[in-house]
């Protein structure tokens, strides 16, 4: 088994386990909780719910992806995992790329499944649901990269979790705008822009987080 796959397997086992980095079910539960709460807050006007529901699900997905920031990098930094990996000749960038993939696997596909009951609770139309699923498919990898980047930048800081959200949210705005923008009407252009924002974050995140962790280890 290649070392990258080994790292990925280890990350996934940690995320789906019950240890310090566990709790992969949390984002999905959070997402479903928001989808359930929203109709209580705005009332049961079916037309209003169907019209605004897609956007609310996007916000819920964004916040759900940022929820585990605190657990993404910090426990391993404190355990000295990155020191060990460095000794064994694994670049931080490579281990963080594996972590981005693991983080995405832990919440991306589950959220896409959870969006089905979520959409049913809001009474969202089939075409809008399809656009929502496509948007989540291209947008959530960017959210995963952003989460790992914010986690890496704040891992060495005492005020980690809240700060991570503050760093990630402005950079998540383009994903939200284009993702939610693809829900109605002309979806192709907005989906392409969601994908572009996602790719930029995926390209930057391993290097930004890797450099931050190298700086934190000194």
């Amino acid at each position: 088994m290649s070392p990258f796959a080994a790292l990925l397997r280890r990350d996934l086992a940690a995320m789906f386990g019950s240890g310090a980095r566990g709790g992969a079910a949390l984002p999905v539960l959070f997402f479903l909780a928001v989808a359930t709460l929203y109709p209580f807050a705005v009332g049961s006007d079916a037309r209003l719910l169907a019209e605004t529901g897609g956007g609310v699900l996007w916000i819920a997905a964004l916040l759900a992806a940022l929820l585990p920031i605190e657990r993404l990098v910090r426990p391993d930094l404190e355990l000295g995992l990155f020191d060990q990996l460095a000794l064994r000749g694994v670049a931080e960038e490579a281990s963080l790329a594996a972590r981005i993939l693991a983080h995405w696997l832990s919440f991306g596909p589950p959220l896409m499944v959870a969006a089905l009951p979520g959409a049913a609770l809001m009474g969202i139309e089939a075409q809008t649901l399809l656009n929502l699923e496509l948007g989540l498919l291209v947008g959530t990898p960017g959210l995963a990269a952003l989460g790992v980047m914010a986690a890496g930048l704040t891992a060495a800081l005492r005020s980690g979790a809240a700060l991570g959200g503050l760093l990630a949210i402005p950079l998540a705005v383009p994903l939200l705008i284009f993702g939610a923008g693809s829900l109605d009407g002309n979806a192709d252009g907005a989906l392409a822009l969601t994908g572009a924002a996602s790719l930029v974050l995926l390209a930057l995140a391993p290097f930004a987080a890797g450099a931050a962790i190298r700086a934190a280890r000194e």
Partner: protein, 239 residues
């Protein structure tokens, strides 16, 4: 260039350059604002409200120049590891955030009578609001790193990442159909009448001098603070 990176030499120059920049900036900006408020004719369609131009445009420029300073200094710090570069980035954050906030506020006040609304979510306004949040994120991260005595390279990395927003702000009026009008001044040509362009140019120059003066003053303050801390630490080490 590396000669100026010596803190002692930097302080020697900054000591006299700071007041010069501040005084020149205040005179130029004050003069341009007085000119703009009293002498400039009302605009063809907007009438008197056009005068807010002389605050809105310089602060918009400095809001973006502030992050460009952060990004440039952060890059220099990450590559050459020179502490002055980090201090420059740290010093640029608050003035940049203030100018960004002033730009957003004046823009909003200007939009109400001219466009008919306080705010629209178009590409230019949204990307500029994101710039303000990036400043807040940078300031919080920089302070957090200082409190945790973490590496100064951590905020520098965020300063570089946030720089992707600058070209987006700049090109937003070309890429999207925005409520905000397109650039009036582009490489050598301007669609602003000379009656507005002259005071505007002087206001931009004046505000830029003020920004430079505040930047240098803040850099000196941060340097003095860290030197005082180092001295205290040395004292504490002595038996």
């Amino acid at each position: 260039m590396h000669g100026y990176a010596n803190p002692a030499r930097f302080l020697k120059i900054a000591r006299w350059l700071t007041p010069v920049l501040l005084v020149v900036g205040l005179v130029l900006a004050g003069g341009a604002l007085a000119w703009g408020l009293t002498q400039v004719p009302p605009e063809r369609l907007q009438g008197e409200t056009v005068r807010i131009l002389f605050v809105h445009v310089p602060t918009a420029w400095l809001g973006m120049a502030g992050w460009t300073t952060i990004a440039g200094a952060s890059f220099a710090y990450l590559v050459w590891r020179h502490p002055l570069a980090d201090i420059a980035a740290r010093a640029a954050a608050w003035p940049g955030a203030c100018f960004t906030a002033i730009c957003l506020a004046t823009g909003s006040i200007w939009a109400r009578p001219t466009w008919g609304v306080w705010w629209v979510w178009d590409g230019r306004l949204t990307s500029f609001l994101i710039l303000l949040f990036l400043y807040f994120g940078y300031i919080a991260l920089s302070n957090g790193a200082a409190q945790s005595e973490a590496s100064r390279r951590i905020p520098a990395i965020f300063g570089l990442v946030g720089a992707i927003n600058i070209p987006i702000i700049n090109r937003s009026v070309e890429w999207w159909e925005t409520q905000h009008q397109r650039a009036s001044i582009t490489a050598g040509t301007s669609s602003i009448d000379a009656a507005f362009l002259w005071p505007l140019g002087i206001a931009v120059l004046g505000f830029t001098c003020i920004f430079g003066g505040v930047l240098l003053a803040r850099m000196r303050a941060i340097l003095a603070h860290s030197q005082a801390e180092a001295r205290l630490r040395r004292k504490a080490m002595q038996p």
